[in-house]
């Protein structure tokens, strides 16, 4: 077997393009993956039109003036502002693709805020038709609007709380520019208590008694108004629930997916190609005359392809770890998962190679089979009907991508199911595809 290994290494060494790809591929993918996962998203370009006249850009709440520009500026910490001259200009910019969306603040925005409250005021956002970009812009704008909304609500809350304090403890109150002196509920109650103590007649008690009780209740409960106002600041409380099963952050899972896909392609293409080459070069007829037993030939192709793909994917994983923090304490488990996954993919590769007469046909077959299987394995539960998902689960279980991904995810991120279960699954698939490839060799002669 070692002479066949040497021969295949010589052939790989002479295939400069393939060799170059094997070296450049993991470096390029690792760098791209790392940059993509470690850098934040770019600011989406959004056309902005503020139709509110400059002299009406503030709203007045009691004695306080709030400049609405201060809050719209919050939006532009995450958005690149592209000024628009008019609504038509904003729409044209969206249509032409110059911007991803347009944000329009209507002229009566501050007026409606002042007169009718938040529910009456609105802003307009125009998106383009690209679903992915629209989703990105929508989520960016929504989050920033929520922040701006919360900041404004906090300001209103602070003013309203001040009014409640004045009503409770007394002080000065500004109503449309006119100052009023307010006694306050606490002082009112004290005044009534003093009158009741100084003139304890039945007639006084009967007439002032209800007022005294009201003042007592009002003092006791006015403080609760602040609690009610506080709910405006965060109108909806979000409860986060972590479901059992996957706990992997998206970027760490993306690392596992990228490395598994690379492992799959290098392994399956190499293994299928190397075996099909024996048929394409007609050399199988020589080897089959007792020079090399069929089982040894299959084992040699699996070992060589798995070793090459293992090295490529390990380099890729190490490269990505420069950008995304990975737990090096689990490196031993990475090796185990990558090794088992590589052997399973290589076994699938030789099974495919045993069906093809030429390297090109084997590569095409390997590509056509591998890619949809990888996509199927990534379909989330709930994304399709339960029956279809069950079918997808069965198909994914018959091929190595899903267990290899699960093994690598478990090795890199410690996710469930555990590494042992995935390794056992892969071991079964290595045996099944190895036997299938051996049976397929009979067609070679």
């Amino acid at each position: 077997m070692r002479w066949l290994l040497l021969k295949d290494l010589q052939i790989l060494w002479r295939s400069k393009l393939l060799l170059g790809l094997l070296i450049v591929y993991p470096i390029a993918i690792a760098t791209l993956m790392g940059l993509a996962l470690s850098s934040g998203p770019e600011k989406p370009r959004v056309a902005y039109l503020n139709q509110v006249p400059d002299n009406r850009s503030t709203i007045r709440l009691g004695s306080e003036k709030i400049d609405i520009k201060k809050y719209t500026d919050e939006l532009f910490t995450a958005i690149e502002r592209v000024p628009a001259q008019s609504r038509d200009d904003a729409v044209a910019k969206v249509r032409s693709g110059a911007v991803l969306a347009a944000l329009i603040i209507p002229a009566d925005f501050t007026q409606k805020l002042s007169n009718s409250g938040f529910s009456a005021a609105s802003i307009e956002v125009i998106y383009n038709g690209d679903a992915l970009k629209q989703s990105f812009v929508r989520s960016t704008i929504s989050s920033k609007l929520a922040l701006a909304d919360a900041a404004l609500s906090k300001q209103v809350n602070r003013l309203a709380s001040g009014y409640v304090d004045v009503l409770l403890k007394g002080g000065e109150l500004d109503v449309l520019g006119t100052q009023f002196k307010i006694l306050g509920l606490e002082k009112s109650k004290r005044a009534i208590d003093e009158v009741m103590a100084a003139s304890p007649s039945r007639a006084t008690s009967r007439r002032l008694g209800p007022v005294q009780e009201f003042a007592e209740l009002a003092v006791a409960n006015a403080g609760r108004a602040k609690d009610v106002l506080n709910t405006i600041e965060r109108p909806v409380e979000v409860e986060e629930t972590t479901l059992s099963g996957r706990r992997t952050p998206l970027d760490a899972f993306a690392v596992a997916v990228a490395v598994t896909i690379s492992l799959m392609f290098v392994c399956v293409l190499l293994a299928s190609g190397l075996l099909a080459l024996e048929r394409e070069e007609n050399t199988f007829s020589r080897l089959a005359r007792g020079l090399v037993p069929g089982g040894h030939l299959i084992a040699e192709k699996i070992i060589l392809s798995a070793a090459c793909a293992f090295a490529v994917s390990l380099v890729m994983l190490i490269g990505i770890s420069l950008f995304v923090p990975l737990d090096w304490g689990r490196a031993g488990l990475w090796v185990l998962a990558l090794g088992a996954g590589a052997l399973a993919f290589a076994a699938l590769g030789v099974a495919i190679g045993s069906l093809a007469r030429e390297v090109r046909a084997a590569s095409l077959l390997a590509f056509l089979l591998s890619l949809p299987l990888a996509f199927l394995a990534l379909v989330p539960s709930g994304g399709v009907s339960p029956l279809l998902y069950d079918v997808i689960r069965v198909i994914s279980a018959v091929f190595p991508f899903k267990p290899a991904l699960a093994a690598l995810d478990a090795a890199v991120n410690g996710s469930s199911p555990g590494l042992g279960q995935s390794l056992a699954h892969l071991a079964v698939l290595i045996a099944v595809f190895g036997v299938a490839a051996r049976a397929g060799l009979r067609r070679f002669a």
Partner: protein, 247 residues
Amino acid sequence: MTNAQSPALDAPVLVVERVGKRFGDREAVRDVSFEVARGELLAIIGPNGAGKTTLLSILAGIRQPDSGTVAQRGPNSEKRIGWVPQQTAVYSKLTVAQNLRLFARLEKVDDLDATVERMLEQTALKERADDELGSLSGGNRQRVNIAVGLLADPPVLLLDEPSGALDPRQRQRLWNFITALTERGTSVIFATHDIAEAERHADRVLVLADGELLFGGTPRELHSTSGAGEHEDMEQAFVAFLQTKGH
């Protein structure tokens, strides 16, 4: 059963007895028996689909027969039969020397370097030893193909359509090479549908049609058996012979 004995066969090096092979309902080789003498050059001729390649692949050990036996006899009977398939069966990405060295290792030859050197000399490819096989002409590739079949110095060499892809000059060189082999004692069995080539080079011909061995003898005997006239060439005699046998 048809038995084709070599006329001057005292000690055969290969004995084929009642070999049969089926592929599903089709009988590719039917009850074929013959013997081959040391240094004999034997041609297996027949129309397309006659079973020539199947018979050779059974003799080479690539396929197992459903019935019958193939036995080597003589002093070097432990050595594997040499096999040269119809299409070149070598690695085009390796050099001539790398190909010879690889197959010599797989054949477990005793003196690797000397064997490779000898084959390079015999095939006159010493100067092209470090050339990638894919860069050689069809004729030179076929010489390497034959050299690989001879690496283990086999007592019997099988060639399937050896000159099919060669021009006349390359073909002549090839036959000179094969004739030299038989003079050194190697028995050569080759399959061909080029009747003139079989007549020119073979000591004996076997006629195979629909898996059945119809004739075994010298080319001259085939001509006379066919009933063809003196003025008719071997190809016409061969066609006439097949017609008389109902093929």
